[in-house]
C-alpha cells in the first residue's frame, strides 16, 4: 500500500482516539497529564479553551470519547476521561486572570437566539474579538437546557453559574426573559448576523385513550423538569410511571424519587438493552431503587371521574426480519399498573413557529432548517444555526462544537472571507526523548482497572434534590485514574532512512504492533502482520521500502505508546513525539498565536 502520509495532522489526530471522537476535539491526554502532575488550573484551561464548560461537562457529558478510548481496547474499560475533567474543575482554584477579556469593539453586531451552550460558545469566541453580541432567551437565566433540564443533583447550580459567568463577564448584551417571536423582526434590527441556538424545546406527547380526561396528572417530561428546576413544582404522587427509555426518562424518574415518589417505575416499549439512555444513567436509576419494565406499549390511561388511576400496557416482543426489529404483540394478557402521576419522556422535537416562511430560511420536508454541516450557515447567508436547533437534539458537547464552528463562520463572514474555506488545523510535534531511555512523559504502563466514582448514600441523596449524587474523584483517586491514560498523543514516529531492520522493535513490542514484511495491498497486508489487524477503523502506519525491500507496517490499533520500540531501537529510527493538535477557533485565521 502507499506509505502513510504521516505529515498530515489528521493522521496523527486519529491516533488520539479520544480527541478525535470528542466533537470539540479536546486534547484529552494533555489535560490528563496535567491532572497527574497536580496542575489542575492548567488542565482546566486546556479544557476550557476547547469545550467551554469543563465543570458542567465533567459531570454531564455524553462522553463520546470514552467508547473510543484505546484503553477500552487494551483492557476492559476506558479511562474515566469525563470524570477526570471534573477533577480539574473542582480543584482549579482561582483562574479568572487567565480568562480572555472583551476585545475593543469592532462595530459588528451579532444576535444570538437562546442562551444555551451553543449560543454561549459563539459568544465566548466572538466577544474577545470585539464583536457586539446580544443574547436573547425566553428564560430568566442563561444556560439553556443545562439549567432547566439537567437536575441539580447531577449538576449543582453553582458549577453552572460559574462557567456561564466566565462568558457573561465578557459583557454580552443579555436580554433574558425575552422570547424572540419573529425572525423577520429580528433581522430588521441592525444585526450583521444572527445565530439561532434555540434548542429542541418541544416534548413529544402521548396519544392514547383517557389521556385528555386524566390530563391533570399526566406531564410532558421536559416541561415538568423545567418546572421543577424553576421551583414551581415541588412534589409528586407516591406512585409514578415514567414512560420512555432515554436520558430524559432517567432524569424524570430520579427527580420523582426525590419529590415524594416512592413507587417510581420506568416503562419502555423496547427491550432494556436497546434503551437510548447511557448505561451509567440506567445504573444510577437502578441504584436508586427504580425498576425498568420493558417490552410494554402504552395502550390506555385508566381514570375514575377524571382522576388518574393507572395505565394499561400491551406486552410485546421483538421480532427480527432482515436485521430489522419490529415489536409484535406477545399474545399475553395486558398489564395494568396503578399510579398517581405519569411523566411522558418519549422524545423531543424542534419547533420554529417564530421563523416566518418568507425570511430566506428554507426548511426541509422534516421541518428542519437547511443548514450546511461545516459552516452552519442557513439559506439566508446572515443566519446561522447550531446546537439542537441545527440538526435535532444531541447534547452539550455537540452544541459547543457547533458554536465554535459557527463562530468561525460568522467571523469570516463579517471579515469578508470565504466561509467555505476553513482555517487549517494546527499541529506541533515535539520529541519526548530526554535520555537513552528517559522520556518526558510517564511511559510505565499502569495496570489498574477503572476506578469507581464515589456516590452519596441513597438515604441522604434521595432526601434533597439539590444534593449532588456523585462526589467525584478526590485528588488521590484522580491521580490513580489519570495514570491509566496511555498518552496516545505521544506518537510513534518512524524514520525509514535510519532503520537497519534489526527487529529489535518487533521483538520488544508488547502488543505485536510492528511488522517488517513484503509490501502489498492493505487488505492483504492486514492478514500478514505479527498480530492480525482486524480493527478496520484503525490505520496502518506504513513506511516506504527499506534496504531489504521490505516495508515497516505498524497497526495503530492497540499500541500502548509505551515507547519500548523507541527505547530498543539502536539507531533512533523510532522516536516518541507529542502531537498537540489545535482546532482553529474564531480569530485564528487573522491572529498569530
Amino acid at each position: 500500500m502507499s506509505p502513510t502520509e504521516s505529515a498530515t495532522p489528521d493522521y496523527w489526530h486519529k491516533v488520539v482516539d479520544c480527541q478525535w471522537a470528542c466533537p470539540a476535539h479536546t486534547p484529552v491526554p494533555e489535560y490528563i497529564r496535567l491532572i497527574a502532575a497536580g496542575r489542575y488550573a492548567d488542565a482546566y484551561m486546556v479544557n476550557w479553551h476547547s469545550n467551554v464548560f469543563p465543570g458542567v461537562l465533567g459531570r454531564t457529558c455524553d462522553r463520546p470519547c470514552e467508547p473510543a478510548c484505546r484503553r477500552g481496547r487494551v483492557e476492559e474499560q476506558p479511562v474515566a476521561i469525563c470524570r477526570l475533567k471534573r477533577v480539574a474543575a473542582d480543584n482549579k482554584g482561582e483562574i479568572a486572570e487567565r480568562l480572555p477579556k472583551a476585545g475593543a469593539k469592532n462595530g459588528k453586531r451579532v444576535a444570538l437566539v437562546g442562551a444555551g451552550p451553543a449560543s454561549l460558545t459563539v459568544a465566548r469566541d466572538l466577544l474577545p474579538l470585539g464583536y457586539h453580541v446580544t443574547i436573547f432567551d425566553g428564560d430568566p437565566k442563561a444556560g439553556g437546557f443545562m439549567r432547566t433540564q439537567i437536575p441539580k443533583f447531577r449538576l449543582p447550580e453553582a458549577v453552572l453559574d460559574e462557567e456561564v459567568g466566565f462568558i457573561t463577564r465578557l459583557e454580552p448584551e443579555l436580554k433574558l426573559g425575552r422570547r424572540i417571536d419573529s425572525l423577520k423582526a429580528l433581522l430588521a434590527e441592525d444585526f450583521d448576523a444572527v445565530f439561532v441556538g434555540s434548542g429542541a424545546p418541544r416534548g413529544r406527547g402521548l396519544d392514547v385513550p383517557g389521556r385528555e380526561e386524566a390530563a391533570a396528572n399526566i406531564h410532558i417530561g421536559i416541561d415538568w423538569l423545567a418546572s421543577v428546576s424553576f421551583g414551581h413544582t415541588t412534589s409528586i404522587g407516591k406512585r409514578v410511571l415514567v414512560l420512555g427509555g432515554g436520558n430524559t426518562a432517567m432524569d424524570c424518574c430520579r427527580t420523582a424519587r426525590r419529590l415524594g415518589g416512592e413507587d417510581v417505575r420506568v416503562v419502555v416499549r423496547s427491550g432494556f438493552e436497546e434503551m437510548k439512555a447511557s448505561p451509567w444513567e440506567k445504573e444510577d436509576a437502578a441504584h436508586e431503587g427504580i425498576p425498568i419494565h420493558n417490552f410494554l406499549v402504552p395502550k390506555a390511561v385508566t381514570h375514575e371521574g377524571g382522576r388518574l388511576t393507572g395505565m394499561v400496557f400491551e406486552k410485546v416482543r421483538a421480532e427480527y426480519t432482515n436485521g430489522k426489529r419490529a415489536l409484535v404483540p406477545a399474545g399475553e394478557p395486558d398489564v395494568h399498573m396503578a399510579c398517581d402521576d405519569i411523566l411522558v419522556a418519549i422524545g423531543q422535537e424542534n419547533a420554529f413557529p417564530w421563523i416566518e416562511g418568507d425570511c430566506g430560511v428554507e426548511f426541509d420536508r422534516w421541518a428542519m432548517p437547511k443548514v450546511d454541516e461545516t459552516t452552519f450557515q442557513s439559506t439566508n447567508p446572515k443566519v446561522f444555526f447550531g446546537g439542537d436547533a441545527a440538526f435535532g437534539p444531541k447534547n452539550i458537547i455537540w452544541a459547543v462544537a457547533h458554536g465554535h464552528g459557527a463562530a468561525v463562520s460568522i467571523d469570516r463572514f463579517l471579515s469578508g472571507a470565504d466561509i467555505a474555506e476553513r482555517p487549517p488545523v494546527a499541529m506541533a510535534m515535539t520529541s519526548q526523548k530526554m535520555g537513552i531511555h528517559e522520556w518526558s512523559y510517564d511511559n510505565d504502563i499502569n495496570a489498574a482497572l477503572r476506578h469507581k466514582v464515589p456516590h452519596l448514600e441513597n438515604a441522604i441523596a434521595l432526601k434533597d434534590i439539590r444534593a449532588e449524587v456523585e462526589l467525584g474523584y478526590d485528588a488521590k483517586l484522580g491521580y490513580a485514574e489519570a495514570r491509566r491514560c496511555l498518552n496516545c498523543d505521544v506518537q510513534t514516529v518512524f524514520a525509514p532512512k535510519l532503520c537497519i531492520e534489526c527487529d529489535a522493535c518487533v521483538d520488544i513490542c508488547p502488543m505485536d504492533c510492528i511488522t517488517f514484511t513484503a509490501d502489498g495491498p492493505e487488505q492483504d497486508l492486514r492478514t500478514r502482520l505479527t498480530a492480525p489487524a482486524v480493527n478496520l477503523e484503525q490505520d496502518l502506519y506504513v513506511s516506504p521500502a527499506l534496504k531489504t525491500g521490505r516495508i515497516m507496517a505498524k497497526d495503530e490499533d492497540v499500541c500502548l505508546h509505551c515507547g519500548l520500540c523507541a527505547e530498543r531501537c539502536p539507531t533512533g529510527a523510532w522516536d516518541m513525539q507529542k502531537t498537540l493538535i489545535e482546532i482553529p477557533q474564531a480569530g485564528a485565521s487573522c491572529q498569530n498565536r
Partner: protein
C-alpha cells in the same frame, strides 16, 4: 536496555497454542542487552519456536556460560529451569544435567567466545558424545560483554571498531561440529526469523546433538564497515542452501511445490522436516560433501546458511552408555543406593580376569 518491565497487556487476538498459551507466555525477564542486539532477536525466535512446538516451559532446561549471549536465557522462558555456569563450562554442566534427567529438553546457549575460545574443548566433547541437546551459538565475532575484543570466530582481515585488523585464522563452529559428529548442524542469521524459527524447532525436536551457529550482529562493537558479522555484510553474503518447515506428526504431508525443489525428511519420531531447496544439488544428508561445500564457499567469501547436515537416525549419549531409562529423581533410595553388597559385586566385576 530498558528499566521498565514489559507491560503485561497483550494483543487480544494473539494465536494460542495447544496448551492455551500465547507466545507471550514464553517470555522471560526484560533484556538488559544493548538496544538492537542480535541476541535479543534469537531469544525472540526461541520463544516463537517453543510456542509453536507447544512446549511446556517447565520441561525445558536452559544452560549457558558467560557472555552477553550467555545472559540471554534469563530473557526467555521465565517458567523453565536455568543454569548460568562458568565461562566455557556449559557443555559439561549440560551433559551432567542430561545424565541425571534425560526427559527434559536441553537448550545450551552460548557465544562464540564462550564456545570457540575458553570452552572449545568442552564444546567438541559434548558434541562427539552425542548429548541430546540443542546447542545455540550466538556468534558475533567478538567478546561483546568485555567490550569487543576479537573472538576466535572473527574472520582473518576483519576490522575492529577501533580500527585493528584481525590476523588470526577463524574457527568455524559449523565445520567443527561436523567433524566432531554432530547429527544436526545448521547456520542462520538473527535478522532472518523466517529461516531461523523452523531451524530452532527442528533442532529442539532432534534427538541427538544439534548445533546451530547463529550469526548475531553486535550493535555496540561489531556492526561497522570492515566487520564480517555486521547486518549489512551478512545480508550481502548470505547464501541460503535451503529453507525448511518443521512439521509435527506424519499427517497432512502434502507437497505444495514442484518436486525436485521440495523434499521431506522423515525423522525417527515421525516428525517431518520439509526442505525447500534453494540449491538443488545440496544434500544435507551427505556429511562429507557438506564439509567440502562449506570450505569452498568460505574460500569464496560467502556465508552458507540453512540446514547443513542432518542424520535422521541419531544416537544419543544415553544409548551409548546404556543408562537407566528413568530420570534419577524418579528412582527410589534403594535403586540409587543399592548397598555394600552391590558395590562389592560391581568391584569384583572389574577384578575378574
Amino acid at each position: 536496555m530498558s528499566y521498565l518491565a514489559k507491560p503485561k497487556f497483550r494483543h487480544k487476538g494473539l494465536e494460542q497454542n495447544a496448551l492455551g498459551f500465547t507466545h507471550r507466555d514464553y517470555e522471560g525477564a526484560i533484556s538488559t542487552l544493548c538496544a538492537g542486539c542480535g541476541h535479543d532477536s534469537i531469544s525472540a525466535a526461541l520463544i516463537q519456536a517453543c510456542f509453536e512446538l507447544d512446549i511446556e516451559p517447565h520441561r525445558v532446561a536452559k544452560l549457558s556460560g558467560i557472555g552477553c549471549s550467555s545472559k540471554t536465557p534469563d530473557y526467555l522462558l521465565g517458567q523453565s529451569h536455568g543454569f548460568n555456569s562458568v565461562h566455557g563450562r556449559m557443555p559439561s554442566v549440560l551433559t551432567g544435567a542430561n545424565l541425571a534427567n534425560r526427559e527434559l529438553i536441553y537448550l545450551g546457549i552460548s557465544g562464540d567466545g564462550d564456545s570457540a575460545s575458553i570452552g572449545i574443548g568442552q564444546f567438541v566433547h559434548a558434541v562427539r558424545r552425542g548429548v541430546n541437546m540443542m546447542y545455540v551459538c550466538e556468534n558475533n565475532g567478538v567478546y561483546g560483554l568485555t567490550k569487543g575484543q576479537f573472538s576466535a570466530t572473527a574472520d582473518t582481515g576483519s576490522k575492529s571498531k577501533a580500527g585493528g585488523i584481525n590476523a588470526d585464522s577463524p574457527i568455524d563452529l559449523v565445520s567443527l561440529a561436523l567433524i566432531a559428529g554432530a547429527t544436526f548442524v545448521a547456520r542462520s542469521f538473527s535478522g532472518d526469523k523466517t529461516q531461523l524459527v523452523p531451524l530452532l524447532k527442528a533442532g529442539i525436536a532432534h534427538k541427538g546433538a544439534a548445533v546451530i551457529d547463529v550469526v548475531s550482529p553486535c550493535i555496540a562493537f561489531n556492526n561497522h564497515a570492515g566487520s564480517t558479522k555486521s547486518f549489512d555484510f551478512v545480508r550481502a553474503h548470505n547464501e541460503a542452501v535451503n529453507r525448511l518447515d518443521f512439521l509435527e506428526g506424519r499427517e497432512a504431508i502434502k507437497l505444495d511445490q514442484a518436486p525436485g525443489t521440495v523434499e521431506d525428511v522423515v525423522q525417527h519420531d515421525g516428525s517431518v522436516i520439509r526442505l525447500h531447496k534453494i540449491r538443488d544439488d545440496y544434500d544435507p544428508r551427505d556429511r562429507v560433501k557438506a564439509m567440502d561445500y562449506l570450505q569452498q564457499r568460505h574460500a569464496a567469501g560467502e556465508m552458507v546458511t540453512g540446514l547443513l547436515y542432518l542424520d535422521p537416525e541419531p544416537r544419543d549419549l544415553h544409548a551409548g552408555l546404556n543408562t537407566v531409562k528413568a530420570p534419577l529423581n524418579r528412582l527410589d533410595e534403594r535403586a540409587l543406593c543399592p548397598g555394600a553388597a552391590a558395590l562389592t559385586a560391581l568391584n569384583d566385576e572389574y577384578r575378574a580376569g
